[in-house]
């Protein structure tokens, strides 16, 4: 499944729980690539750091702080697929893995979807953006430098994420 449109359409057809599971795969993949994968760490602390990072990105990129709609992990996943080329392969793999799932005797995931959305987005975006500070006398300004080959449309990703940032339960669990 390499066609971009097909991939995005597949993401939109997922159940919320399935889309969330794909986001978790993306997060693990991103952390492994960055060499920052850690187990047994404090989820609350991580999510709080990731949230602060994304809010800063949204502020510096001057993205309006108005959520366009409801928090939807499927929508966020579709936007990530379209806007971030590097995410396409792991999403494709994760979708294949979803098809392999069998019945398990567990309950629904105990982690808040918002936390997963926030940390996944932060993990994907963090390597692709840098903050540059400029000083003009007493005045300091911060500019956001985005790797355009890595993120085609940062504003769209942040916009899809805003409902999670503003409305979601970011408490981790």
């Amino acid at each position: 499944m390499t066609n971009l449109d097909d991939l995005a359409a597949s993401a939109l057809r997922l159940e919320p729980a399935e889309a969330t599971e794909v986001l978790r795969e993306l997060l693990l993949d991103a952390d492994l690539r960055a060499g920052t994968a850690r187990t047994g760490s404090d989820i609350d602390t991580r999510v709080a750091d990731d949230l602060a990072f994304l809010r800063e990105v949204a502020r510096v990129a001057d993205i309006p702080d108005e959520p366009p709609g409801e928090a939807s992990p499927q929508q966020l996943l579709a936007v990530i697929v379209e806007a971030i080329p590097a995410a396409q392969e792991p999403v494709s793999e994760a979708l294949t893995a979803l098809d392999e799932r069998e019945t398990s005797l567990d309950m629904a995931a105990s982690i808040a979807v918002a936390s997963i959305a926030i940390s996944t987005s932060a993990a994907i975006i963090r390597p692709l953006v840098t903050f540059e500070k400029e000083r003009d006398g007493d005045r300091e300004t911060i500019r956001l430098k985005v790797d355009v080959r890595g993120v085609r449309n940062l504003g769209k990703v942040i916009s899809a994420l805003l409902p999670f940032l503003n409305n979601g339960d970011n408490s981790g669990r």
Partner: protein, 1092 residues
Amino acid sequence: MGRLLGPYTDPSLPGVVVHIVEVEQASGPRHMAIVTSDEAPWLTADQKSGMFDRLLAFESSIDNDDDRRVWLFVEGSAPDGETRSLESAWLDLPDLGSPQDTAAVVLDAVGGPVDLAAEAHGILLGERTAFLLVGDFHGERRMACLVAQSEPRPPCVEGLMSRWYFRRVLRQGTAGFAGGPSVPVWIHRTDSNGLDALSVGVLPLVAYVPTAQTPDGIAAEIMTDSLVTVPTRDGVLRIGAARPGGVHPVVGHRHGSTLEIIGALEAGTDPETFFRNQPNDKTTALTYFGQAVGYLQLGRPRLAFRAYYFYLRFARFRRKKAVREAVELGFEVLRQLDEAQEADYVEWIGGAIADLAYRHGLDEQGSTALWHAGVASSSLGWSDRCIMHFERALASRKPTRHQRARLQMSYGLCLLGFCAGRELDAPLDDRHRGYVAEATNQLRLAVEGYRRIRGERAEWALHSLALELARAADLRGEHGAAAEQLRRLAERPVIARDLALFSTAVVYSLLALRTLSENDDAERQAYLRYCLKLAEGDTIFPSASITGLFHLLLGDALAETGHRGEALGMYGFAHYFQSVGFDTISNALGPDRPLDGWLAIDTIDRILGSAGHAGVSAAPAAMCLADNAKSRFFRRDLGLQLDGLRAPYQGVTLVLDREIRRNLLVRDVDQRIILAEQQWHAEQQIGAREAAAPPRSATGYLVQALHDAAEGDGPATGAELTPATLADLWGRLSEGSALVSLYAGRSRTTITVQTGPGAAPVFHELPVEASALQRIATGLQEHFSGTGLYAKINPKRPSRYDALFWQPFAELGTLLAPVADMLVNRDLVVVSAHGAWHHLPLHALLLPALWRHGLPGPALCYTPSFGLQRLLLARGDTQSWGAFTDMAVTSAPSRTDDVGQFRDAHDRICASLSAATPRLRTAFGVEATKEQFHERSAAQVHHVLAHGIHRAGPDVMRSGLLLSDGDRLPELAGDDDHALPALDLLLRTGIAEHLTVQACSLGRTMVAESDELWGFHRAALGSGARSVLAPLWDINLESSTVLLETFYRHWLHEKMDKHRAWCAAQFAMHQGEYGAAWTHPYHWAAFTMVGV
């Protein structure tokens, strides 16, 4: 000679024929009746008359006859089922009417058909059966249940006798109790075979609201549950149990909570009236007041506490004089409890006195009571309660100047006490630094206060405060200044003369010097020399915590200088004083009850660390001490349960006692009340002397045995592990077993291995930090159960992320190789884990290492502690489960599951069990209800396939299974109505001998202080299971079904021992018999067998 009249019949009652026999007596004519099932009485009138003559003569002789009483002979069923039998019965008439009128009353008393709908068999002081009769009473379907000797069969449960008996019970029940008409079942319990039902008099009846839906279920429930449940307007269920002697213990029970015993109901008192009157029952209050006084005079403070507890519940305080009396009595009880070192009870009663006193304006008494409660909380290591009590006391309106200063001083002292020990193992965290800051503030305020007070006590307090302020400075990091200040203070004559002050100065100095010398070799050597010199003496100080800390510090110094044997002795003393502190804790330590201060210091890790170097003689004692430090409250409560099984009391008293004991296993209940009630109850049954004799603590013996100074094998009874009880455990295990005990200290895990009853325990150290173990365990759960942010494992490609999640754990396998070498050729390895090891599949490392040595390798089962395992096996001696062939499978998919897949798994499990038993009872889908689960409690093997909810944190005992509500399947999203929480298992009686829980993560536990384990396991073992097989993480339906099918095939078809069968199933999957993907530990190592 009498006249035979009739037959009389009622067209609406086919099969009931009444003949009246009219006999002439001195007082006039009397009517007797014969009730048979056909119209051809087979006795002559003379014969009938003769029967009645003999009956009247007998009943008159025992003063049991009355002119208005009609004696009946009712046809019953003879044992051979062919001949007829006649049983005597009776009914009372208001007036003697015509024979026809009497016949009508008799026909009404016998009434319509009654079915013997169910029988349930069990053991209640001999073999008993619950006979459940179902019939119509005043147009409503009702039930009556006779619980009687199984043999000979009671005459009143069959034939026409059953109709008369049924309506007799219903008439008495509904007439004698305001809520009677709505009671679905009336239970009549008797120690005989029910003949008492035929005699005149009031039957001891119990009103009962069953939870089971079917007659079989209700009868089974009645056999295992004895209590009256009556719904009342406020949604509260009141439960009482009728005792044949007349006094009714009365128990209050709220929905979803556990028992709370609130009083005793005198014979003849209507339960509704009793409930309506409390808490305004002056007579009962006075009774308890008197009891409290009496027990104080006898020097029995815990029983005085119980009486005072009930007194407060029943008394209504309208006048200040009554309040003062109550407060004074409370302080008397408190003082005795304090002298008996019952700190946990002092904490309760201090709070209760304060509530009462403040409510009625007695602020001074309130503050004093809270001071006691605060100090008691401190000695128990409960910082949150301690802070609450002191803050409340200091915020009250008008403590006196002296009171305020004393409160501030004690508050500061307690806060500093909570830091003791923290600094020995790790730097203070933010919370404890906060304690030091607040302590400094309170101590300074106390100094100001005491300076305005004259007298010796104030002078003493100022000296003590100077020591505490120096200690606070040390904890703030001012070690040099603190050490110097403490040195100067110790030289003051007034301090040097006072052992309490001087010992405090010495220990505080050692703590400061120890930290001060950490980075200075010369200082360190001086400090160590000082410690070695101190170690030459034999010192006991007035304060247990100061004495314990002193020995601990000297032990550390001795260990550091290579004097391992002497260090072990010092640690032993420290541990002894610590266990004295633990003995004062009644409420089991839950996940939300952290211990602070002196009790939180890990003395066992130090003992094990030194025992490995101290020679063979210390090893058994060290092993026992480590074991006794695990699951101490679970072990205590199971020990009490076992005592109850060994010495069963009679009838419902047994059941009530069992309920009390079971409640000890439930964390929601204030166990202080339950323990006091249990003690009182035991004394009522078996006499004060026997009940009051406390079990001899083994700690003193074991500490002596550490350095070969103890004789014999220690106490052979009691719940603790000693060499003697360890030998008993070995006697109960199969030949070729081995014991492996883990103890996770801060920086190492000590593994103790004993390979046979005569073998010396061998210690092996794993240099792995407890925090690292916890991270590994959390990582495994994140991946296997999806509890983290990362993706959950893909069951078809489980090894994809092994490098991140599994490898850190697998690396411990190398360190475990020497342990595995010791276990080669063993048949069964019983593992007692500790700390984070409870969350880790040790078997996934050990078993493959052992399988490499050749087959068959040993099987591996877990137990919370060896002492507990011994009790579990001993319980099996007295506890009866169902027949081996009695098995059950309960399966409940959720609404969103693929029901076909679930059905397939259910059918496969059923097939693997059904070949071994003709009595497999199954329930699938909506039939798989909580009630149905409980009805299977008598089974020998019960397999449950359902979704599981593991709740981490304080709610862990609400972890459980999702089952149907009878109408609908459960939903996955936290559906409490469908949940069968662990708590429910404990509140019910009985469970299968072996329980397999094929439900995600229900093998997970929460580990509280002192390694107290909480979760589904605890509930299943506590309510009677011998072994529980449950998964450590979220499992895959397909692979877990195959694993368990294989287990059952080996166990039930091929008749392998259970542990061997389980090991063979794990081995087959690990070896790839079911495909390469399932060789991953996620599949084959998911389950742990707890219990043997």
